[in-house]
Structures are given as C-alpha cells and as structure tokens.
Symmetry: D5
Subunit: 96 residues, 10 copies
C-alpha cells in the first residue's frame, strides 16, 4: 500500500557538526537501502526547504510506522502521512 509522507528536518542550531554529519550519513544509507528494497518508492527534495516528499510502499500501517521510526533523523523531523489509493483516472499500473 502507498503512503504520501512529507518530512521537514529541524536540526537544533547547537547540534555538534560531527553529530549532524553522522546522522545524515546514516539517514542516507538507510534511505538508499529502503529504495533498493522498493519500500521508499519515491523521494524528492522540496526546492528551497530542508524537506522532502516521499512515497512509501509497505504492507500496512505498522510497517510504515516502524520504518519511519528507524530513520536516524526521525527525532528531528515533522512528519505528515496521507494514505493514498488508486485514482479512477490513473493509467499507471503501479499506482495502486
């Protein structure tokens, strides 16, 4: 099932540079692993913001929650979730 997830990152101004760098590196590694597994199906940067729009493809709500909780930046993100379903006008087979 598909979920529209919007994440805005708010790192504290006083977070040490190396802590931030480590968080970002681990976030990137996990984001790429989840893309390879087909879980994080789309990932776009919102121009001008430290934020992204993502489409997740997971079997259920619990898997979505567990996946987001595993993100190293989770404690520093504002997250909104919209459940998506097939649009009657869609022509794409994978937009379930």
């Amino acid at each position: 099932m598909l979920y529209h997830v919007q994440m805005t990152v708010r790192l504290p101004a006083d977070l040490p540079t190396e802590v931030a760098a480590d968080l970002k590196a681990r976030e990137k590694a996990l984001a790429q692993q989840l893309q390879r597994e087909g879980v994080w199906r789309h990932l776009w940067r919102i121009a001008g913001q430290y934020a992204n729009v993502s489409i997740f493809d997971v079997p259920d709500h619990a898997t979505l929650h567990d996946t987001l909780m595993r993100l190293p930046l989770f404690p520093y993100m504002d997250i909104t979730v919209l459940p998506l379903c097939r649009h009657p006008s869609s022509l794409h087979d994978d937009e379930r």
Copy 2:
C-alpha cells in the same frame, strides 16, 4: 521539471448532476491524455477525500500553469504547488 500538485475538488452542492458528470468526464479524458503524454507523471487519490496528489513533469512554470488552467474542474479546485528537485539520497534516475 517536476512539480508536486495537490488538488481538492469542491463542487457546489447545487451544481446540476449532468453538468457535474460532464465536467468529470472531460476532466478524466484530459487527465488520461496528459498521462499518456508524460506530463501528468503520477496521480493518486487521497483516501477519504475528494482530492488527489499529483506529480507533473513540464518544461517550465508557464506550461504548468497553462496545463492546470485547461482542467475542466480548475474553477472548482483548491490547488497547491511545490517545486521538486532531485534529492541527494535518491537512487531513481527519473527523479530529477
């Protein structure tokens, strides 16, 4: 270039049924033509709402505006637009 477009439809309660049906049929026909042309790259229904999340792929802002203006339901929709760009962690070639 990619744009994230969220559309919420608000048809007036007193719109005659046949007018609404005609609007929706023409909207669907154009939406499918634009998908075939690669302009309306993704189209999802937001579960529980008369609303969609879409990704448009057009050469510039003006083309986006003209495309949205051509939608028969345009006068009845609340539309928000976010410009998207490639995310540094993205692995997908077509997420420019």
Copy 3:
C-alpha cells in the same frame, strides 16, 4: 487495518427537510450495516457538535475510500483520516 476517521456534517441551510431526512435515514441504515459487518468498528458522537469520531477496520486504503464514498452524507462532510497501528503499550488484542 484500522483508520481513525473524524466526520463533521455541514448540511446547507436551504436543504429541503425531506431531502435531509432521507439522507440521514440512508446514512443510518448503511452505518448500521457496516457496523454489523465489522467495518465500522467504533462510532461516537462528539458532544455538542454534528460530528463523529469513528474507527474503521478495512483491508486497505482503497476499501476505506470506497466505503466513505458510499456514505449518503459524504458530499456534506469534512473528513480527516489518520492511519492507526498497534501501540507498544496496548494490552488489547484487537488494537492491531
């Protein structure tokens, strides 16, 4: 899967009484059928408002959307949806 759905009804002031009565009767009949089927798992009135808080139990987003679209009052309701999952502190087996 469980969804938290909040519905606020906004009937137009000039809706004829018999039309409103018919809508409400059909809404009630369907709401009770969906409860008997286990789909509309909880249904509470919010005190002081023409609104309810509901828990739906459906296999996926698409079924949720189709179910809500079938409600006779759907065109007159503001609806918000939250996907729910099991809370790590929950003791109740059916709070998946």
Copy 4:
C-alpha cells in the same frame, strides 16, 4: 463517561537517554495498569508520529484530569480532549 484524548509527545532533544528511558518505562507501566482497570479503554499509535489516540472511560472530568496528570510524560505532551457520547446510529452497547 467516554473521552477522546489525543496525545503528542515532545521530548526535549537534550533530555538524557536514561531519563527518557525511565519516563517511558513508568508511562508504559501506568498505561497498562489503567488499561487493566478499564480506565484507558483504547490506545492506538498514530502511524508515523510519536502520538496516540486514546479513549478514556472515567466517571467525571475531575477523574480524567487527575488520571492524565499522573502520566509521567504529561509535562512533555500536547493533549486535546473531546467529550464523547452515544451516537444515535451506534449498535455497540459499550459506546455510551
């Protein structure tokens, strides 16, 4: 009487790990005790958020307030309360 309570947890970024762990352990213990007593009737995680939706069953407003005040995470939560009552379309005996 039933109350719909939505709690969003906002732990400060600089809260020591062991303090947070202790708070969460005590919160969980009390949450489970209140569930066993029938006071915390439903408890769901909102997918993607450090937040829950709960239904409390207490004799009056004062008991609700005292119960929420006893939660170890109370100082770190945004809480909204909606009084619930029986919906005329409800078929469930315990949805008073």
Copy 5:
C-alpha cells in the same frame, strides 16, 4: 458536571426577518427555562460579537449534547466545548 460552551451565531444574510425573529424568541425562551432549571448556569455576551460564553451544569456528556441540540439556533451556531473541573486554588464550593 460543568462544561464551558462558546457559541457563535451565524445567521444567513437571506434568512427572512420573521423566521429569524421566531428563532431568537424560541431560543430566548428555552435559554431562560434552562437557566431556571440550573442547567445553563452562566450566560454572558462577548462584547462586540454575536456570540456567548456559557457554563452548563449537566450530569453527563449525553445530556449536554441533547440540550445543545434542542436549541433553535443550533443549526446556525459554531460551538466549542471544554470540560471543566475543580481548580485546586478555587475557593467556591459550586465550582466542581
């Protein structure tokens, strides 16, 4: 139990004068009856607005809801409800 209820009246501009006058007369009669019964314990006008702040004293949420639903102006009001309880610093016996 006590409830803080704020009501804002929004009469449609095209409501016939005599209909409005009848609604207001019946609203006033019921408001005064409920005050005499001790149910509508306080009633104040908010200066500069067609709105009031009220304190209701009813045995439970359901009675509050039924009471508000009986108000002739109910369909034309925005209503917010806050459950109140005794404040630890209160000296007044009837502020339960």
Copy 6:
C-alpha cells in the same frame, strides 16, 4: 466589569523544582486572596490541560492588566482576554 480570561501555563522543562513549587505556592495564595476580594470571580481547571478559564470582576481594563501582571506565573502563561457583558437572555443579576 467582567472579563473572560483563559490562561495556559508553560513552565520551562528545566525550571528547578523548588523554583516551580515556590511560583505555584505564591500563585495559589494570590489567586485565593483575589477570590476573597471578589476580583477573581470564577476559576475552573480545563480538564486534561495545565490551563484555566476564569472570570474577573474589576472596574476597568487597567485594573485587569495590573492584576494579571501581579500573578507570579504571568511570565509563563499564554493569556487571552474577552470582554463580557450582560446577555439579553440572562436571568442572573450578577451577570452584568
């Protein structure tokens, strides 16, 4: 004259316990003195929140402001003020 005052307390998480206790003790003492003087006419806790709804009875705006400024918790509170006046349907003599 009557004023509806809603106060929400936001104590910083790192306020030393004894400072908070002292603030609260002095707040309570002053709140009770002002009740005895007839200035703080009503005081209710909002269930589930560290907040209150109050009715103040003072001769003018300046006295209201000076009274609120004297509260030890004033620097830690969000305060909203609504001027109240007699409602045409009120039966209570003291709801001026």
Copy 7:
C-alpha cells in the same frame, strides 16, 4: 475606557446596489455622529482592504456592544475587540 476594534466588511456579491448604498450612507452618518460625540475616537482605513482600525471610548463593555450593534453594517462585518489600557511609557494624557 478604550477599545481597539478592527472591522472587516464582507458584503454579499448579490446584495442589490441600492441596498448597499443605503447601508453605507447610514453607516457613515452614524460613524460621524459617534465621532462628534467622542465615542468613536479614531477611525482609519487599512490600505488595500475594505476594513478599518478604530478606537472606541465608552464607559463599559455593554456600551461598546450596544454601539457596535447599532452599526448598519454590523451583520456584514467580522469584528475583533482588544481592551486597551495606559502604557507605562505613554506621554499622552488621553491614552488612558
């Protein structure tokens, strides 16, 4: 006593021109009479909006409410009221 009142006029698009003209003429006449009486102490247009910022000088909340209710445009206005008092840095005698 002084009150800061902000009024935004929202005339319905289908209000007959002569009705609107009559409302505005009567509004202007009363506004000027209240200025002459010293009640409507200041009156400014907000540039670019059909709205004004005003300072009223009346003995109490009830007089403010009755005065605003007498305005012919009252049913078509969104009104917000702020009670004002003397600022400790003010040098003007009439800013009570």
Copy 8:
C-alpha cells in the same frame, strides 16, 4: 504617513534580570523621545498581554523600518505592520 504597529514582547525566560531591566529602561527612553518628536503618535498597552498597539507617523517605509530597528527590544518582539490611510467617514483632520 501612518502605520499601525502591533508589538508582542517575548523575553527569554533565562534573560538575566539586569539585562532585561536595562533593555526596558532604554526602550522606554527611546519610546518617549519618539513620542515627543511626533513619530510614535499613539501607544497603548493591550490589557492582559505584554504587548502594545501603536500608531507611527513617519515620512516613508524606510523611516518606519529604521525606527523599529532602533528599539532595544526589537530582537525580542513579534511585529506586524498595517499601512493606514484616511477613512472616508473620518472627521479628524490628523487621521491622514
């Protein structure tokens, strides 16, 4: 030209008392000088809030900005600005 300026002061809880006192003393001195110069034409306290409503009379936007920037409390204030102009119903010569 006239500008409506609303300022809300938000001093950090951990600002040393003597720093706050110095800021306030310098703010007051400058506010009074600007009143004497006819620049800060009106200054009122909003009852119950650490906030003011002010009317500034300056030749242009740049002077307004420079004047506000000179206020010692500027870094601690939320400021909103509305350009004002003469209201067609105004009788006061100095409400340009």
Copy 9:
C-alpha cells in the same frame, strides 16, 4: 514608495460568463494603463493559481488604496499588502 501586493481572485461560480468577461477585460485595460504609468511596477502570475504577485510604486498609502479600489475585480479579490523598503544588500537603484 513600494508595496508588495498579493491578489487572489475568487469569482462566484454563478457569475454570468459575459459579466466575468467584461470584468476581466476592464481589469486588464486598467492593469496595463497602470503599468504604462509606472504605478504597477511588476506583475507576475503565481503558477497554478488564479492569483498574482505585484509591486506597486505610489507616493503614499492613500494612493495605493485608491488604486486598488479602482480595480474592477477588487470586490472579488483577497488582497494582502506588505510595505517594502530598500534592503541593505540591494544593488539595484530602483529598489527604494
């Protein structure tokens, strides 16, 4: 002086086509005349919305207000105004 003006047009769904066409034609004619006069210095469409961002260059607030009031679409627009001034980092002579 420069003003940032954002205008969103909300034409009623039942406005006759020829009335709308006439309004738009007169709006366009006046917009172009004001551009030629140097008053409406910049005019951009916001992509995807029936809205524009504009920069006006007028001697004072009153001229801005009178200019906006003359726009045929004024009654159908939501307008927000921000006074602009020279930025200390600007290199452009005409960004006063």
Copy 10:
C-alpha cells in the same frame, strides 16, 4: 525562470555577536554577487521585519535549491517559494 522567495531570519538570542556579524557579512557578499550575476533579480526588505521578499531567476528548481542552500543564513531562515510565470496582462518583457 522566476521564483518568488520570502525569507524570514530567526537568529537565536544566544548566538555570539561576532558569529552573527560574520554570517551577515558573508550573506551580504553572496547576495551581492548573485545580484551581479542576475540570479537574485530583486531584493526588498519587508518594513518592520527581519525579512525580505526576493525574485530569483534561475534555469530550474535544482539551481534555486542549491543557490538558497549556499546562503550562510539558510539554517536560520524560514523560506517560502512560489513559482512565478508571465501574467497575461503584463507589459514587461522580462516578466517571463
């Protein structure tokens, strides 16, 4: 392509003066370089706020994002972006 960018600067109160001065100096230098290159086409201060309204002229969303990310004050700014396109009533050749 043109983008409307609004930036509000929120420097932490405890940022050392010399750090803030260095940030601002580097921000100014880059802002002026980008103006000389024709990228930062317009730059205005919003009167009364530590904020600006800007028009950027860049080939695509990615360049906009990279440009904004290079600003030394980026981590301390709230930024909103609106894609602009030519308005049908515009007479200016460079308002593409």
